[in-house]
Subunit: 304 residues, 2 copies
C-alpha cells in the first residue's frame, strides 16, 4: 500500500519535479485512486527518456497553439493548463490549443486546477474517429469529452462528460468477456445497430442529436481551430479559462454558484464534482507495485 | 409582399441606422423569413422609444459585462457581438457577458456574424427556470441554447441547439390546441411524466444527462459567470469569439473544416447551417402588414 501524497511525490520527482510534473503526477495517481486505472499511471507507458521538454512561450499569450507530439502528454497538458491560468489572470481570458497529444488521462483534474485558481475553466479533447454523427452510419469523430469547472469547496462544480455512449475500451472489454452490449450503443460495419462487440464499427453519440452536436463542438474547437484533427501523432486538446470577477463591481458569482447548486440539488439533480481523491487516500499494493515498476523504468534504478 | 432587403432596411432605419441596428434588423427579419415568427419582429413588442442606448466601452476589452436591462435586447446583443468581434481581432480571444436581456430572437445570426468575420464564435443564453435536471423533478434552469459558428461559404457550420426537449411556447401551443405531448417531454407538478400540456410544471433536458449537463454549462457561463441567473429584468447571454489563425504558421483551418464537413456528411450526418434566408427572399403580406404596424408605432407615423 502507498499513501496518495507519497505516490504523487515519488512520481513528480521522476517527472522532473517542476510544478507541471507535480500537477501531472497528481492527475494520474488520482485516476487510479478513483478506480479509473485506464486514465492513471498506465499513461506512463508512453513516457520516454528522450521526450522533448514542453514548449512554453517567453511570456503569457491570450491565445496560443502547442505542438505536443514530442512531449509526454500529461506533462504537456499540465504545463499548458498552468500557462493558461497565468494568461487568463493577466488578460482576463485565455485559451491554448494542443495538438499531437497522446494519452493524457482525464480532463477533470486540469479544469479543476483552473477553478482552484479562481477561474472558470473549460477543456475538450478530440480523438480518432470512433463515433458516428446522429442519424449517420460511419464513425467520424472521437468520444470527444467536454469539461468545465468553477468554484471552490462544497459548491464547486466539475463537469466532465463524454459525448459518446461508450468508449472503445468498453467495447474491447465486452469483446474480451463476450458480454453483449446494451441497445443504442454501437453500429456494425453496415451502419446497423448491433449488440455484438465483435461487430462494432462505430459508437453512437450520447443522447442522440444533442450529444452529436456537442461532440461536433469539441471537434471544431480542438480539431479544426486547434488543428488536432487528422494528426496521426495524437489528439487535439483545448483549454480555455477566464476570470469571472468583474473589475470594479461587487457582483458575487460565488453566491450565484451556491444558489444554483442548492436549486439544482433541491430539484432532484446530481451536482457533478468530477471525482477527487482525498489526500488521506491509500492505494493498494497492486498499484504500488505498478508504480514501482514505472519509476524503475523511468529512473533506470530498481524500485524500492 | 416585401423583399427581404427592403424589410431589413426599413427596420434598420427605425432602430437608428447604426451598424448594430442593421445587424439586429437582419436577425429579426430573417427569423420571420425562415418561418420562425416567435423569434422575429415579434421582438419589437418590447421596443420602447425611451430604451437606453447600448452601453459600449471606450475601447475594446478582452472580457466585459453589460447590463442590458434598459436596452432593446436585439440591439444590445447585436452591439455586443460587434464589440466582441473587434476585441477578438485585437486580443486573439474575447468574451462579453450580458445580463437583463429580454427577448432577442435566435442566437444563430449572431454567431454567424462572428464566422463571417473570420472568427470562431460561441454563444449561449440562460433563462427562467423551466427545465428539470436529469433525474430531477422540478424546473431549475432555462431552455439554455448553445450556438457555435465558424467558416464561410458552403463549408460553414452554424450549430444552434436548445438543451431542452421543447420550449414553453410549444407547451402553450399544445395547451391551446388540446394536443397531447409526446412522451419524454415534460413533468407534472409532482415530478411525474405527463403528456397533458395543462399539467406541465417542468420540461425535460434534451437527450437525458448530456443535454442536462450542457444546459448546466450554459447556466454556469451566462447565469453564474455572466451574472444573469435570477435577474428578474431578463436573461443572461454570453458571446465568445477567437481568431483561429495562428500567427506565423501556415496551418489552414479552412481545409480542416472542409474535410470535417465532407467526413460528417459522408458518414450520414446532417451538417448544421443554422438557417439563412437568401437576400432574394420575399416575405408575405401578413409579415409586411405586421412590419408596417411596428414601424408606425416606432416612428410615430402611419405605415406606408
Amino acid at each position: 500500500m502507498i499513501a496518495f501524497p507519497d505516490a504523487v511525490g515519488r512520481l513528480a520527482v521522476a517527472l522532473g519535479g517542476s510544478p507541471a510534473a507535480k500537477f501531472a503526477a497528481s492527475a494520474l495517481v488520482e485516476a487510479d485512486a478513483l478506480g479509473l486505472p485506464r486514465f492513471g499511471i498506465a499513461m506512463l507507458d508512453e513516457w520516454t527518456a528522450d521526450a522533448a521538454p514542453v514548449p512554453t512561450g517567453a511570456s503569457p499569450q491570450a491565445i496560443s497553439w502547442v505542438d505536443a507530439s514530442s512531449c509526454f502528454a500529461p506533462l504537456a497538458v499540465a504545463s499548458a493548463t498552468l500557462d493558461v491560468a497565468e494568461a487568463a489572470r493577466q488578460f482576463g481570458i485565455a485559451a491554448v490549443f494542443l495538438h499531437g497529444v497522446r494519452g493524457f488521462g482525464r480532463l477533470a483534474p486540469f479544469v479543476r486546477h483552473l477553478a482552484d485558481a479562481g477561474l472558470l475553466g473549460i477543456a475538450g479533447a478530440e480523438g480518432p474517429p470512433f463515433v458516428a454523427p446522429h442519424g449517420g452510419t460511419r464513425p467520424v469523430i472521437g468520444t470527444n469529452p467536454l469539461a468545465l469547472a468553477m468554484g471552490q469547496g462544497s459548491d464547486r462544480v466539475v463537469i466532465d462528460v463524454a459525448t459518446s455512449t461508450a468508449t472503445m475500451a468498453d467495447i474491447r472489454n465486452a469483446r474480451a468477456s463476450g458480454t453483449p452490449l446494451p441497445d443504442g450503443i454501437a453500429l456494425d460495419g453496415d451502419g446497423r445497430p448491433t449488440s455484438l462487440a465483435t461487430d462494432v464499427a462505430a459508437l453512437l453519440p450520447r443522447g442522440g442529436q444533442v450529444g452529436s452536436l456537442l461532440g461536433l463542438v469539441v471537434e471544431l474547437m480542438a480539431g479544426v481551430a486547434g488543428g488536432g484533427r487528422g494528426d496521426p501523432k495524437g489528439r487535439g486538446v483545448f483549454i480555455l479559462a477566464f476570470d469571472p470577477v468583474r473589475p470594479g463591481e461587487g457582483v458575487d458569482w460565488n453566491a450565484k454558484l451556491a444558489r444554483l447548486k442548492s436549486d439544482w440539488t433541491n430539484g432532484g439533480g446530481h451536482w457533478p464534482r468530477g471525482g477527487r481523491q482525498s489526500a488521506q487516500a491509500v492505494l493498494e499494493d497492486d498499484f504500488a507495485q505498478r508504480l514501482d515498476a514505472c519509476l524503475a523504468r523511468m529512473t533506470g534504478q530498481p524500485g524500492r
